[in-house]
Symmetry: none
Subunit: 190 residues, 4 copies
DNA sequence: GATGAATGAGTGTTCATTCAT
DNA sequence: CATGAATGAACACTCATTCAT
């Protein structure tokens, strides 16, 4: 019964994201998630080893789809700046269309669950970005500093700006996004 | 009658920060915090209204001390770039000396507890930074964009770089900090 | 899956009544009731919404069975006096056989839990008595006064006399019950 | 400091009665009573051995004052019926003026605290009633049955009728009180 | 595979009481 | 005498997980 499986699993994914957004990580119990997904709590243990597994799988799932969205339409032969700009706008689009996914990852990344993650599991999805940036460094278009520093000024500000909790006063207008990319580029460009 | 015991309150603060760092927000129960502070669980309710109050007060306390540390030695008549650089290094120093405080705030800010915060309670401590930046904008030294955008490229990257969870591969050497400030300044300068 | 266990629910009912009798309402905690019923405290919440629900349900259950016992063998066409006498003796029998049920209701009725009761929920079981008395009034066999007054002299004294706490010195002999009914009848008869 | 003592003790008495009425026996904790009386919880233990002692003393206090009120203007040489009628009206007056005292005694009498009472402590206050009734029996004015039975039809119905919880539908008009006494007298008269 | 029942261990909080001043 | 601080034990209730079907 392949179909049935996937419907339940999707329902669990949706319920998990929804609940964590509405009531937070702490309050999102297995029973509540099960009820939200209209499934028995025991059923969760058919699909996942335990609660941690459910939460971690949900996180990975979102991260994978974020990276796919970010890389849509990217060709590694594009000019560096154009490629980064495209990625930037892709991310903003994705985040503003899926704020609930994004907020889930924010909560997850700062919880101890994240320690159970194999970091490479996530990083591999973002390798293309890393490759583009490395190319920029090699071509002396981008500053030659540690990748984490570049990332902190390229991608991380997106998270801050898209996070309603952290940027309460900022509207995500086209104008503002454009300005933000200018700052990002000025920061990293050679 | 006995008088309230400053030492106990400090022990509760320390225990809260320590436990949240070690086992995370979710697992940090009142009983565990009390045991860590070598105090009865009931005693917590002498000093705080409830668990939320304890966590929120701890957060505010840290934020206040971070802002004080950041502004140490700052004179608002200093040249803009020098002032920001000083703040930058102050923050790095503080965070690297108090990683546990910092990690606490990261977990807190992404938990639903943060919704109970009056945002102005925190923002007021960071007004001097805001004033310095505004002066830079007025003097056409800093780009004229929304403050939240400037902040996202000035102060938030510090958080990422100092956060061991997010920047696993980066060592916080003098060299790296220096590089990072260059990026920050390039991002925001006019 | 398992099915709900009638035996467990009965055990909870018995344990609740027993404990309230032995140690009183105040001291009858959920954990103690669970232990008495040889059940996990959590199991109580499978069968009842919360502690109040358990106590209220237990009360309603007893009241229903008391009214059923009181009305056993009653035909509304019997002569008024005979019917009331039969009810009287039924009540005494029931109460003396189930002192523990009765004492539970006494404690319950004088606790704030009783305010959560829908009064009609209870009263509906005692409507037949009310109808018999009304017939007595119509036939000028019983005094034409408010039903609550008649009740206070008919049924309530049973409670007092059967209550060991209130009538410590009285033995519930056949003789005494007979005498008591004479008083009740003299009080209400036209 | 005699005066101060009595003020505090009175405040504790008032607070106890008030709280038990408002939130019930179960919820009336020592700390809450102390706060209501504007006194430290520790102070209660200066005046009373423990919580039980406070509750029991409060009960005895009320019972004594009820009996005093009931016997006001009673001369043991009055005709039996007049004496009883006077007592009856006294009780109604007292109860309707002090419903909070009365409700306290109702809750107390049905709690396990009452087992710690020396019954004679209370009964001695009601001896005059008992003597009057005994005289009635001797004079063949009152039925020769056990005193507890007579009491169950004389004084207890007052409790029911005055108890708002038990007689929700009854207004305590002059008319109704008069009717009720007729029933009481008819019940016990020879 | 899927379920609701069942649970021991734990949750945040309040309890009656004692301590130190 | 009078107090607020302090507490271990208990409170009602929920947790993540397993059981029996």
């Amino acid at each position: 019964m392949r179909t049935k499986d996937e419907i339940k699993q999707q329902a669990l994914f949706d319920a998990t994201v929804k609940l964590v957004n509405e009531i937070g990580f702490v309050a999102s119990s297995v029973n509540k998630i099960a009820k939200e997904a209209k499934v028995s709590p025991a059923t969760i243990y058919v699909y996942y080893k335990n609660k941690d597994d459910l939460l971690i799988s949900t996180y990975i799932s979102i991260k994978r789809s974020l990276s796919e969205a970010a890389l849509a339409g990217i060709d590694e032969n594009m000019p560096i700046r154009s490629a980064l700009k495209k990625i930037w706008y892709n991310m903003f689009d994705y985040i503003s269309e899926h704020t609930e996914y994004f907020q889930y990852t924010e909560q997850f990344a700062n919880s101890p669950y994240s320690e159970q993650l194999n970091p490479e599991e996530i990083e591999k999805h973002f390798e293309p970005m890393q490759r583009i940036i490395q190319k920029g460094i090699d071509q002396k278009i981008i500053k030659d500093v540690h990748f984490d520093i570049l990332g902190a000024f390229t991608f991380y500000p997106i998270m801050v700006l898209a996070n309603a909790r952290l940027s309460r006063n900022l509207e995500l207008t086209e104008e503002n996004i454009k300005s933000a990319f200018v700052l990002a580029w000025d920061a990293i460009k050679y």
